[in-house]
């Protein structure tokens, strides 16, 4: 147990360092905004008759950023704000704290990303086993080629092609948004149906984008396991095929769980294209909107939360692997 605790501590330290680096990048970017809107805002408030102190406080609330002072003072103030979960106020949504806006958007990212990823994981892993077992046949070749193709193509190409097929050529699905405005948001059949209808394209695109990677990873993992002696031994003992199949699955799928956890973290950042194309108001959409509208407080917050997702996913992946694979656990304990 102490081994796991020590690993966790190391991961946490590295994760916090990561978050600090990203926050520092955001800080310097906000400080170097062309045209300096923060100072401009401060000047304007002073000209409107506010006392310099009141104007400074108002600006600081607005941007989560001190308009004057030395570099160090500004930095300490900015970082202090982060530790109080105070990321400033969004300019495009007047009066709403950035944390509230982020929370609202996270809702629209987490569920579709999770559904899409799990869907592609299940599908890719199953197909990967077939691709490995039938690797010398036509079916295996086809599966492997489909995997390489989908894995190699960037997400926006997939999303645009899906959109072109299902909203332009055969308009069966809505081109964007989260639900029809006709329906009252709430727990009623019409609204939920509309939600599902609107989520279909983003979810299916996430699934397609992930599928290729899973099928390739599972195929190579199964091929490795197939060469192991215990599979040969099981076959020689005349075990049922279904039992041997279970042996293969349980051993081959282990390394994939780690990739699953990491990819869940990455998808928070990778969802930018899909959310922008299908006009889906998640975190990626928020980031791109805040960049276009030059809403710096919101931009810094979105960048930070995407990084935190990746850091957390990395830690979870490592811990999960330690718990799930007895070989890693006992190996670590033996080494300690």
């Amino acid at each position: 147990m102490t081994v796991i605790a020590r690993r966790l501590a190391g991961h946490l330290a590295r994760g916090i360092a990561m978050v600090l680096v990203v926050a520092t990048i955001s800080f310097f970017i906000i400080r170097n905004i062309p045209g300096d809107p923060i100072a401009a805002r401060y000047q304007k408030l002073v000209e409107q008759g506010m006392s310099p102190e009141a104007a400074e406080r108002a600006t600081a609330v607005m941007y989560g950023f001190l308009p004057s002072g030395t570099l160090w003072e500004q930095y300490v103030d900015y970082m202090g704000g982060l530790f109080r979960f105070d990321l400033g106020v969004s300019v495009t949504n007047p009066g709403t704290p950035v944390t509230t806006v982020l929370g609202e958007a996270a809702k629209w990212t987490v569920l579709p990303v999770l559904t899409g990823t799990l869907l592609s994981f299940l599908l890719g892993v199953t197909m990967g086993v077939y691709a490995a077992i039938k690797r010398s046949g036509v079916l295996g070749d086809l599966l492997a080629i489909s995997g390489s193709l989908l894995h190699g193509v960037p997400q926006y190409v997939l999303a645009l092609l899906m959109g072109a097929i299902f909203t332009t050529l055969i308009p069966v699905l809505p081109p964007g948004g989260t639900a029809d405005i006709l329906f009252e948001p709430g727990f009623n059949a019409g609204y939920i149906g509309s939600l599902i209808e609107h989520a279909t394209l983003p979810v299916v695109t996430y699934a397609l984008a992930g599928y290729g990677g899973w099928i390739l990873a599972m195929k190579s993992s199964v091929v490795t396991v197939l060469g192991d002696d215990f599979i040969l031994a099981a076959e020689l003992r005349g075990m049922k095929r279904s039992i041997i199949f279970r042996y293969i699955m349980r051993n081959a799928i282990l390394p994939l769980f780690t990739i699953l956890a990491i990819s869940l973290g990455l998808l928070f950042g990778g969802a930018i294209f899909i959310e922008k194309i299908f006009n889906y108001p998640g975190l990626g959409f928020l980031l791109i909107e805040s960049v276009t509208n030059r809403d710096y407080a919101l931009m810094g917050g979105a960048f930070l939360i995407i990084t935190v997702a990746i850091v957390v996913a990395n830690i979870l992946a490592d811990l999960f692997y330690t718990v799930i694979d007895p070989r890693v656990r006992s190996g670590a304990e033996a080494a300690a």
Partner: protein, 300 residues
Amino acid sequence: MSSAILETGGTTAAMRRDFWRGVWRVMRRKPSRLAGAVILLGFAFMGVFGPMFHPEPLPRDPDEIYAPMSAEHWFGTDGQGRDVLAQVVTGSRYVLLSALVTAVITVVLGTAIGLFSGFKRGRWDTVLMRLTDMKLTIPGLPLLLVLSTVWSFGSAVEMGLVLGLLGWGTVARAVRAQTLSLRERGFIEAVRGLGLPTTHIVGRELLPSMAPYIAMSMLITVTGAVYAQVGLFFLGVLPYEADNWGVMLNLSVFGGGALTTTAALPYMLAPLLAILLLTLGIVLVVDAMDEIFNPRLREE
């Protein structure tokens, strides 16, 4: 003395001839690989000479806005009545130039850092690899988006520079791993025993052994760079460049409504097809290179 030099010269020439014969054999066995090489040459030709065949700026035709596909306009026209195919051709120069800059910077930086880290080991190695890990964890696309607010890296060279400086992590990791394993091999030990300087060991022994891998990762970097820069322009966070694949995608989807009406669809599909074709060419060539340089894959 002089005859010995002549003799070694003769064998290297023979080896070179054998190499090209091997390349030809690999290409001929799977014609798809030849197709890959042809596609890449075609793109290179398009990037270098393509823009010369079209006037700058492209002619506008107010009577032919979002014209459908026809013999005159293979992929129709855009919202200003300009020929779409001509835009793909003139835009290819930007795409290929910036991808080339990215690939060169990525590979040079990645190889240098990986070699140094793996060869020196010790404290420098730890520091550099921590840095690489950190770089690999920071989400790349969000970082590019955030960066675009303070620096509009729109020109081809700037774009290549930014993507290259952000992208060397993977190559550095792989080169370091290979250096670590190669430096323990017998032939390196023999060279060290002969008392040859480090520059010789690195330049004449280590680098040539890794050259195939480096060449392949350079081609793979090109695809990544094309995706990234087209994506950035598509998202519309950079100032518009005239005739750019990403800008075409942006205007067709968010301006022409290609995801709701069919009128702007060819305008959107043309750059997508160009990207897919370029990817296909690179994948096929990498596959061929893999077989040329990897003796285990070679089927005699």
